[in-house]
Every structure is written in structure tokens, then in C-alpha cells.
């Protein structure tokens, strides 16, 4: 029986694996979901609105870019949603929605769209958005809601509050719009280790009963999410291990030198954005090195820069700056630390 239909011709290979870009992206989204849900539980509606607004704005921004460039709309691949979710998790709950929108625009349009979209960007879009907001709107970006269940005082310090115009006011039952308090890292920067001594003994930091950005709260859930990514082979171990390892080492050494000025390793590991940064931001494929050696250096660089900024620079938290700075080194790392190719070394022949 002769074949009448036109056959397909294509170069080999003629079979493919089942991994797809969309599946990878949605897996990451799924592993971040528990941490996001936890933040909604802690902070309530203000957290939910930030997440929804940021994700929606990122998706819209991406679609807009693709329309403008006459490319097919590819929201299904989940990359814009992931960018939105990560950006949301780096923002404080209750952030005005218009600021969320500006951050989203910077993330998906300035940091990604104008570079040509998915895979072409040089800097982590979410980190670019976050750093831009932090520099442009330092006030709103460092105003933290107090999580559920910690009352009117936080770690023994009185809670300050702001009225609708942003002026600091005394807390009383009538005039509170938003109740806020400093983050553990903010306390450390302002008041030293004594202020957080009580905190670092408590498991609250680890389990996430602290205030901060949406995704800075529960180190446990983020760690679990990261381990799932590792288990599903979405990411490799190199970047998280070298990032967290460097932070721990740096903290341990400085703490050993002067424990009154510097907090210990667990505190630095479980507070702020280190967990989410190491597992979810620094491991972004597009903006991290491809090969093992480069990844180790990249992770270590993130760790060192994070700690340097935390301990000495003007900002209490340095993860987003560190990731962004290390993003810039990726082309050089990729170029100079390529894997040793097969047959590179001529082995001596066995006699016989």
C-alpha cells in the first residue's frame, strides 16, 4: 500500500522528552504558592491584593509587549505570572496598588520586554522591579504590617502606626489605619543584636510568624518549596547551597569576631529574603550561569554581597541588590567557566 499523504520531514532527533518551558514555570509557581498562601493568612486582605494586583499587572504588561512586537501572546507559559508572584512576595503587604503596578511595569517591560521577552533579559525582572521601587519609593516599601497573633508590641518594642497621609501617630484603637513595625533585619540595623536576641532564639523566624515582605516570612515553607524544585529537577543544588552556605559562613565568622555587633548564622539565614532569594530568585534560569562552576561562584557572590550590604551598607536587606549585581556577572561567568569538554585531556595510554 503506497503512502499517499505528504510525510513530515525533520532533522533528528524524532522523539522528544516531556519537559516544557511552561511546565517548569508552573512548577515554580506551585512551589511558591504555599508561602504566598501563608502570607495571606498572616496579613489578610492587604497581602492578597498585592499578590493579585502584581500578578495581573505583570501578565498584562507581558501581553502588551508581545502585542507591540507582533509576537504571539504566550501567557500560558507562566513566566509573566511567575515574575509577578516573585515580585509580589518581595513587597510589603498593604503596599498601594499603584506602586505595585509601577513595579510590575518595570519588571516585565523595562527589564524583560525591551530586551526581547522571555529568555533575552539580562537581569531578573522581579528583582529589577523591586530594586526600582525600593529606590523610588523608600517610604512605602519599608512600612511593614504586623502579622496576625503578635499583638500591639513586636519583640517587646512598641508598634508605630501611620495615618492615611503617612504621618507617624500614636497607636490607639480609633486612629489606626495600618499597624506597622520594624522587620527583624530593620531592628538589627537600628538597635543591634540585643534587640533581636530574643527573636533569634524563637522559632517564629523559621516558621514565619514575623513581619516583613510577603515572601520573607516563612523560611520553612520556602525551604520546602525549594526542596521540591530540587527533587523535581527544576533547579540544581549549586546556587542555593553556595548562596546559603556563604551567608551562613559569613554570619558565623562575623558573629564569632564580635557577637554584640553581628547576629549569628541562623538569624541571617531565616530572616529577610535569603531563603526566597537562594531558592527562587538566584536560580532563575535566564539570569543565572548555566554551568556548575559558574553557579557556585554566582551563589557565593550573592551570599557575600547580601551580607556586605546587610552589615555595612545603607539598606537593611541586600538580597535583591546582590542578585541583581551578580546577574551582571553572568555573561562573564558563563564565558570563562565552561565545562571541561570530552577529550580535552589526552590521557596516557596503558601499556600492554
Amino acid at each position: 500500500m503506497p503512502i499517499t499523504d505528504k510525510l513530515h520531514v525533520a532533522p533528528s532527533p524524532h522523539v522528544r522528552g516531556t519537559v516544557s518551558t511552561a511546565r517548569l514555570m508552573w512548577t515554580v509557581v506551585a512551589t511558591l504558592a504555599p508561602a504566598a498562601a501563608w502570607s495571606v493568612y498572616l496579613f489578610g486582605l492587604p497581602a492578597l491584593t498585592v499578590i493579585v494586583a502584581t500578578v495581573a499587572c505583570c501578565a498584562a504588561g507581558e501581553a502588551l509587549c508581545q502585542l507591540a512586537m507582533k509576537k504571539p501572546i504566550s501567557l500560558k507559559d507562566g513566566s509573566a505570572v511567575l515574575t509577578g508572584l516573585i515580585l509580589a512576595l518581595t513587597l510589603p503587604p498593604g503596599l498601594p496598588l499603584w506602586i505595585c503596578a509601577i513595579g510590575s511595569v518595570v519588571a516585565v517591560i523595562v527589564a524583560k520586554g525591551v530586551f526581547g521577552g522571555l529568555g533575552q533579559n539580562l537581569f531578573n525582572p522581579a528583582m529589577t522591579g523591586r530594586v526600582f521601587l525600593l529606590i523610588a519609593f523608600p517610604g512605602p516599601l519599608t512600612r511593614w504590617l504586623v502579622p496576625r497573633g503578635t499583638g500591639d508590641t513586636l519583640f517587646g518594642h512598641p508598634v508605630t502606626a501611620y495615618d492615611a497621609t503617612g504621618k507617624m501617630v500614636e497607636v490607639s484603637a480609633n486612629n489606626v489605619d495600618v499597624i506597622t513595625g520594624a522587620t527583624p533585619l530593620g531592628l538589627l540595623t537600628e538597635k543591634g543584636t540585643a534587640a533581636v536576641a530574643a527573636l533569634s532564639d524563637q522559632s517564629a523566624v523559621f516558621f514565619g510568624q514575623v513581619n516583613g515582605s510577603l515572601g520573607e516570612t516563612s523560611a520553612l515553607l520556602l525551604l520546602l518549596g525549594g526542596l521540591v524544585l530540587l527533587w523535581r529537577r527544576v533547579i540544581t543544588w549549586h546556587i542555593p547551597v553556595s548562596f546559603l552556605g556563604t551567608v551562613a559562613l559569613f554570619a558565623a565568622i562575623t558573629n564569632a569576631i564580635d557577637s554584640t555587633a553581628f547576629a549569628g548564622a541562623p538569624f541571617h539565614l531565616f530572616t529577610g529574603g535569603v531563603m526566597i532569594g537562594a531558592w527562587f530568585m538566584a536560580t532563575d534560569y535566564v539570569t543565572s550561569p548555566m554551568h556548575a562552576t559558574g553557579k557556585l561562584i554566582f551563589g557565593a557572590g550573592c551570599g557575600i554581597l547580601t551580607m556586605a550590604i546587610r552589615l555595612w551598607a545603607g539598606y537593611p536587606e541586600g538580597v535583591s541588590f546582590a542578585v541583581l549585581l551578580m546577574n551582571a556577572t553572568v555573561p562573564l561567568l558563563d564565558n570563562y567557566f565552561r565545562p571541561k569538554k570530552f577529550g580535552f585531556q589526552r590521557l596516557t595510554r596503558q601499556e600492554g
Binding site: A10, S20, Y285
Partner: protein, 440 residues
């Protein structure tokens, strides 16, 4: 013995159980046979018959067109209908001898050496292999006698037979090792004698335990080692096989003989036994007809020059809507535009894929996930080379060792963005080689 392997590689779905249990059976040749004069790497053969000539099975119809070339024999008895261009396996037309089969299967006299091969001169052994038109039967079809004539400054101490059959779907080598283990081992012994090699290995992936067992029995007391290999693609790639068996890495740009090794396919080894011991030239081979697009997958002994359509019909014909027809395995085989292409010495399988299994989507952009680089058995960076190739930056591609690519397809297999990495690299290689030729 613990199963050995190389670094990198992938684990595709093998789908070998479609045909691995089917005993080989001979396929009656069709009424018309089309024997291409170029079935091998190197110069095409020169035709030595004319229209109207009567030919017998085993009679040469083409003489070697040079040292790196091969003799081609008739696979049926009958009358030559003509010498004309016909569809070949790479899409272009190839000068072919068309023979009308008289159905009587008359053969020339086959006179082999029998067991006397052990005392024969190596030059006679090599001559018999050359005259039998032997080429590598794993797919590349490199003339065997050339491989068995290394220069004097490259002494060979080890011969490895490749029975990995790491390509998904294919079971031809599996059946051959299971049904004719003694031929395989004898062939290896002949090659070792010709090359003066002291060590002989047969590498077989552990997903073929029955073949491993059969070979172990056949090789008892022969000093030949049967090496179990881990199941991983491309375990059967020459350089990776040597790395796994002997822990020797063929240098970049080099050949196996640079590390004192010659690799032959198990099919070639059995054919060597046929040629030397029984005096039979290479005019038929075992191949697998398989895939979801064929009704009854099977392993067939097929005469060279049989159109693949004839072999497919013998397996119950096409099932469902046919999307792709591939000669060889799914990882490195060639897609065909017609089922009239003939089976040649290098055809190890006919794979039929359904239309629904053909992915026609456009590739997504590269997200630099690095899966290709981790899968690459040569440890080059397919994503970077492909990106350079797509922008005609061939010098950068060369700097990134595009020429080391063995085109195994591991990178493209695992690419989440479905990028045609192998094709990009192949284009870069072609451009680099063209540039080099221009430079010289």
C-alpha cells in the same frame, strides 16, 4: 561485573518491547530491487554491469570507487533493468542499479575459509572483508577494511564491539546477539587477529540480559570480555563506549585509533564471520520495522535494495495516519519523504511514527536552563552554539567546539523549548568546514 557508563546522556522511553521478542525472519525480496551505488561513506562505487546483464546473488554490481569506498553486490538473481538515479536515503537521487528479480535465488559459489581463518594471513582476511563489501552496520556505514588498516604509528591494543544498541525502538542488534552469538564472537576474534589486538570487548546495555548471557556463553575461554553497560543514551556512541569500557578519552578531533582502539558494530562482526568463514558477501542484513505506525513490528532479514515499502507491507502495513518515516533510530535516523527508498547496508531500522506523535509547534525562546549542556556527552554547550549558529556567528561557534558535536540529539531531546539544537549545530559545522576548505 558492575555496569559502566559515561558522563552526561539521557533516558528516553525505549519502546523496545514492541519488537524485542520477535524472532527474526527472512523477507522475500520484491520483484524489483534498487541497489544504490553509494551506500557508504566515501567515493560511490563504479557500476560494473550493464542493462540486460544476468546477475546472481553475491555477484558484484559495483566496484569500489577508491580506497575509502566499498564493493556492492547483487542481492537477487535476475536481469539488470538499468542504471539510473533513484530516490536515496538522504533525500537526493542516487545512481542505482535496478534489477528485475527472477525469484530463483541463484547464488555465486560461496567459498569461505571455514575454521582455517585462524591460520590465514591477515592480508587475506582483510582482502576477503574488502571484497565482501563490508561497511559499518550501525548506521554510519564507514568501509570496514579502512578501519582495519590503521597507520603503523597507531598501534591498536583493544577492539570493542558495540552491542549497546542505545537507540530507542531498535532491536536488530539485540536479536542478532541473541540468535547468532557465536558469529559475533568469531567476528571479533578475526578483527583482533587482523589488528594484533590483545584485548577484546563486547559492550551490551543491561536491558538485554538474555543477549549478555548468550554472548558470555559463546565467549567462554576466548579471552573476550563481555561488558555490561548502563542503560543510557548515547551509550553506543563510539567515544562514549570507549570511555565506558576502557576509561580512555578520544582526544578532541581525534579518532578511536588515537587511543589504540577500534570499535565495530556487532552486526559488522557477524558479517565479518559470514564473509571470512562462509565466503558470503554483504547482501542482506537484519533490521527492525517498528513504531506505533506499523501494524506488526518485527525484525527482518532484508536484501539490500528492497524498497522500505515492501518491508512495511510484510509487517502488516501502516497503522493509522503515518506522520514520519524514519530510516534508523529515532535519535539519529533520517526522515524520508517517500517509502520507495531502498534498504542499504547502514539501515538498522525502519521507524514509523503516527501523525499525532509529530510535533509541529514552533520552538520557544531559549531560557538557558542548561539541560542541553548537562545532557551533552561531549560536554559542549549546545544552547550557545545554536545561538551563534542562528546568527551566522560561526567563528564563535567554532570557538565553542561545535566541531566536537556527535549529533546524538541528547540536547534537543531534553530541550524544554523544543529548539532544534542539533540542526543548528549541524549547520554551524557545515559552515565551519566550508570556511576551512576555503581557507586551505
Amino acid at each position: 561485573m558492575k555496569a559502566v557508563t559515561f558522563s552526561g546522556g539521557i533516558h528516553p522511553s525505549y519502546n523496545k518491547d514492541l519488537s524485542s521478542a520477535v524472532t527474526t525472519r527472512p523477507l522475500d525480496p520484491p520483484e524489483e530491487i534498487v541497489i544504490p551505488l553509494s551506500q557508504h561513506i566515501g567515493a560511490p562505487a563504479r557500476t560494473c554491469v550493464e542493462k540486460g546483464d544476468e546477475v546472481l546473488i553475491g555477484q558484484p554490481v559495483g566496484d569500489a570507487g577508491g580506497f575509502v569506498s566499498s564493493v556492492i553486490h547483487s542481492s537477487v538473481s535476475g536481469k539488470v533493468k538499468g542504471v539510473e538515479p533513484r530516490a536515496g536515503a538522504v533525500g537526493t537521487e542516487v545512481n542505482s542499479v535496478v534489477i528485475e528479480n527472477d525469484g530463483q535465488d541463484r547464488t555465486v559459489d560461496f567459498s569461505g575459509l571455514g575454521d582455517d581463518w585462524r591460520s590465514a594471513e591477515t592480508s587475506e582476511l582483510k582482502d576477503r572483508i574488502q571484497q565482501a563489501g563490508l561497511v559499518g552496520m550501525g548506521g554510519a556505514a564507514f568501509p570496514t577494511h579502512v578501519k582495519l588498516s590503521p597507520p603503523d604509528d597507531k598501534p591498536i591494543d583493544a577492539v570493542i564491539l558495540n552491542g549497546a544498541e542505545c537507540e530507542p525502538y531498535l532491536t536488530a542488534d539485540h536479536r542478532l546477539m541473541l540468535e547468532h552469538p557465536a558469529d559475533v564472537i568469531t567476528g571479533l576474534s578475526i578483527v583482533m587477529k587482523i589488528l594484533g589486538a590483545s584485548q577484546g570487548f563486547v559492550g551490551v546495555e543491561v536491558n538485554k540480559p538474555d543477549a549478555l548471557e548468550a554472548l558470555r556463553e559463546a565467549s567462554a575461554d576466548s579471552g573476550i570480555t563481555v561488558v555490561p553497560l548502563q542503560v543510557k543514551y548515547p551509550q553506543g556512541a563510539e567515544k562514549q563506549l570507549i570511555d565506558a569500557c576502557l576509561k580512555r578519552q578520544v582526544p578532541s578531533g581525534g579518532l578511536p585509533m588515537d587511543v589504540g582502539v577500534v570499535v565495530q558494530n556487532v552486526g559488522t562482526a557477524a558479517a565479518i564471520t559470514d564473509a571470512v568463514v562462509r565466503g558470503r558477501p554483504l547482501y542482506e542484513r537484519i533490521l527492525t520495522v517498528t513504531g506505533a505506525g506499523v501494524a506488526e513490528p518485527a525484525n527482518l532479514v532484508v536484501r539490500m535494495g528492497t524498497p522500505v515499502a515492501h518491508a512495511i507491507d510484510a509487517c502488516g502495513g501502516v497503522r493509522g495516519e503515518l506522520g514520519k518515516l524514519v530510516l534508523g533510530g529515532p535519535m539519529m535516523g533520517f526522515a524520508q519523504y517517500t517509502d520507495q527508498v531502498p534498504v542499504t547496508k547502514g539501515t538498522s531500522g525502519i521507524l514509523l511514527l503516527e501523525k499525532s506523535a509529530v510535533d509541529t509547534r514552533e520552538p520557544d525562546p531559549c531560557i538557558r536552563c542548561g539541560r542541553c549542556a548537562r545532557a551533552c556527552p561531549m560536554r559542549i554547550i549546545p544552547a550557545d552554539i545554536a545561538a551563534f549558529s542562528a546568527r551566522q556567528m560561526y567563528e564563535r561557534a567554532e570557538e565553542y567546539d561545535a566541531l566536537d558535536c556527535i549529533e546524538c540529539g541528547s540536547c534537543a531531546f531534553g530541550c524544554p523549548s523544543r529548539i532544534g539544537l542539533v540542526q543548528h549545530i549541524r549547520l554551524a559545522k557545515a559552515a565551519i568546514m566550508a570556511q576551512r576548505r576555503k581557507g586551505n
